[in-house]
Symmetry: D3
């Protein structure tokens, strides 16, 4: 059985992530979405919120499971007996960072392979960061994230605005 | 009438910005310099200081106006009935970031076009950040920024040094 | 009056070119499509064929004219009293080549400005070369080129096949 | 059953290709090496020679088969009921070309996925072209190609030299 | 006498740095490793610790000296009568940043030249940051840093863990 | 004694090459310009013409010698007991090609080091190819090449035009 891990912070999940996922489930017997706890990086959504949003967005996908992890990705991959890491590539800047990570992971564990899928061109400009920037300034992100994420972002920033204004 | 917006943080304005501006005013009926308030990013100069320095540097340019904005750039562009955003491109890393922003803005408002001008090669290494780094360490920035900016940076960092030493 | 030139070999014109053109006509008072004779590069279509296909594809566009030129682009631009060159940018490799040409043209004539538009993401993989490769091998190019170009390519390669087989 | 195609001209196969292949056979139930006939590009080795060298180099690999094809890659992939194309990525310039091809292939056939593996860093500078250049000038290519290829290149260029000198 | 400066934060020194250094000492009469104090950037190791680790790692190298500096690099270079700055290049993203710095330094002092060495491909993915990330998560960095650095990182992070847990 | 080789086709030498050379002679005890015979690539100028133009352009430079070579560059470098290859870097596309060559040369001979100098920004768009294109179309190349090259190009293309027209 070939098990692939699709890791990320998913803060929050976008339609670009979903596109990669939908293609990955056709390539492997099982795909594990691995959400990084990321204690060392400020996230907008808590780990539990990110997990919930991923689960809502992926309900329709077969052969898939959502997990969270901390520590080294490669240790997590090995602990669940997976042998493939899946990553999306959008642009040249992605490419160099991803190449660095793939080489480091290869060095850490020679049996795990990283494969890359090119993002669909219509999502090539999309990232969790730009989604948060636009949502924060009250711009429309319809069609770029799952509906549940749209709602969650609205709630998050309304709450923040309330705190600031109150 | 074709109105173009040249947006940025201008913290502070450099001769690279001025070069783009001087070329942009020949292409459009009016050019609006739009200074972002950038509440979410630490700036060295306050919004009022940045505005003053831009105004001093651009006094000689015709058909030009200085404005400040907060919120989404694309909303500001629409609010003043402009239809073009002007951006300078220096390097490959600029290119990918700018492409991402241009595509997002196109999605947010299909009627606004982003155009790019290549920076003059003599300014291709110039950025507000590198100017601040060099000035902070007391290096010469003559010829890279307008005279007023040179003075303002000197004042800013002398003040800081005073605070540290005092 | 601001006149812009959109130069190229257009061997043949693609929907990516058309997208840039449709956006350029909104930015200037007139846009001249300038088809390079390119004596020094093998083209699939003759200059007259390329011109015909461009004219068919652009019939619906206002304030536009089709011209052919040989010699230096910058000399042609000056000869028709234009002051802007328009170019599309798809990718990093485009960027460096275009930057080189823009700087050379700036040196040859300081009064002419080159502006860049980012290709729509759905056309970011599109080029005349890839279109010819796919058409030659009998792949579908529907939706990537104007209908007339689709027909013309079919005719061209059938003829070639006939010659080979005959 | 998941069948992947690893296409190329393989003129000649290098240790960089072999590295990608050895990793690909662990990811899929079967890997088909598809050697392009490339009538339109001058190759040093004939199709039969390239096929022979690939077969010699890959004898030790399980679940693998060598095939030749002409026409569109995507048509070949479909004709053998494969659903994945495997490609190696060495550098940024590869990345942009490969992205263009992957997007075109996706448009031509939505059911076929292209996946990318990063070349091992020790082969990141390796290409069939540089191998031919070095061998032609009598430089050592030991360790960069399979032994059979080393011999074949020696033979090829000695023959050529003979022809020139004779 | 030709004296070259190899500047950096060295937080901590890696085998990639060492590779550049070992090659630089063959090119010049003397090489000065210049460790930046970097008051404005959070470092994991103190200046004294970084200096100690560099000294341990470079004991075997001839014609070499370790120095620390604050202020502008170019001022330090001039103050010790050096005329060359040595930098390693790993990837495209390095390239653009380094180009910017080299041009700025050229402008600040025309007599100082920056030269670049390409990192060995086996270290092309290596950086002080990725080393710290991996070590922090208890991954193996054997072979990527000098032994003393491996120990020092272990100590540093055990201490931190102790603090957190205690 | 440290001897560096600055290799190239120099078809013809440009002011960009000269800038690199003038900086290289300050870094080494001797610099050898090595002009490649390039039997396998069409050059505009013959080897003797290219050599003559380089010699004219470099008359003012101390500690420099002009040589021609065929075969592998690395063999030539070793044959004259040099230990350094000098190359200029203008852009990202240069970078990747140069990295490939530097790594191949390192593999062919571990004792020879390749160092890179960044082109002056005012020459960053300059190449022998673009110079030939512009000169061919009768554009001005003043300030971009030495005076002798300007003359030689004029002569070359007048001759060609004569041949065509005659």
């Amino acid at each position: 059985m070939r098990v692939a891990v699709y890791p990320g912070t998913f803060d929050p999940i976008t339609n670009g992530h979903l596109d990669i996922l939908e293609r990955a489930v056709n390539l492997f017997d099982q795909v594990i979405i691995a959400i990084a706890e990321d204690n060392y990086k400020q996230t907008l959504f808590t780990l539990e919120e990110r997990r919930y949003l991923v689960e809502q967005a992926c309900k329709h996908l077969p052969r898939m499971e959502v997990r969270t992890f901390d520590g080294l990705l490669i240790d997590f991959v090995q602990s669940i007996n997976a042998n493939v890491i899946v990553r999306g590539l959008r642009a040249v800047s992605d490419f160099e960072y991803e190449m660095q990570m793939a080489m480091m992971n290869k060095k850490l564990n020679h049996n795990v392979e990283t494969i890359f899928l090119m993002s669909a061109s219509k999502y090539s400009f999309l990232s969790s960061s730009i989604i948060k920037q636009v949502a924060l300034l009250d711009g429309s992100i319809k069609g770029l994230v799952p509906v549940e994420v749209e709602e969650a972002l609205k709630g998050k920033y309304m709450l923040k605005a309330g705190t600031r204004e109150g």
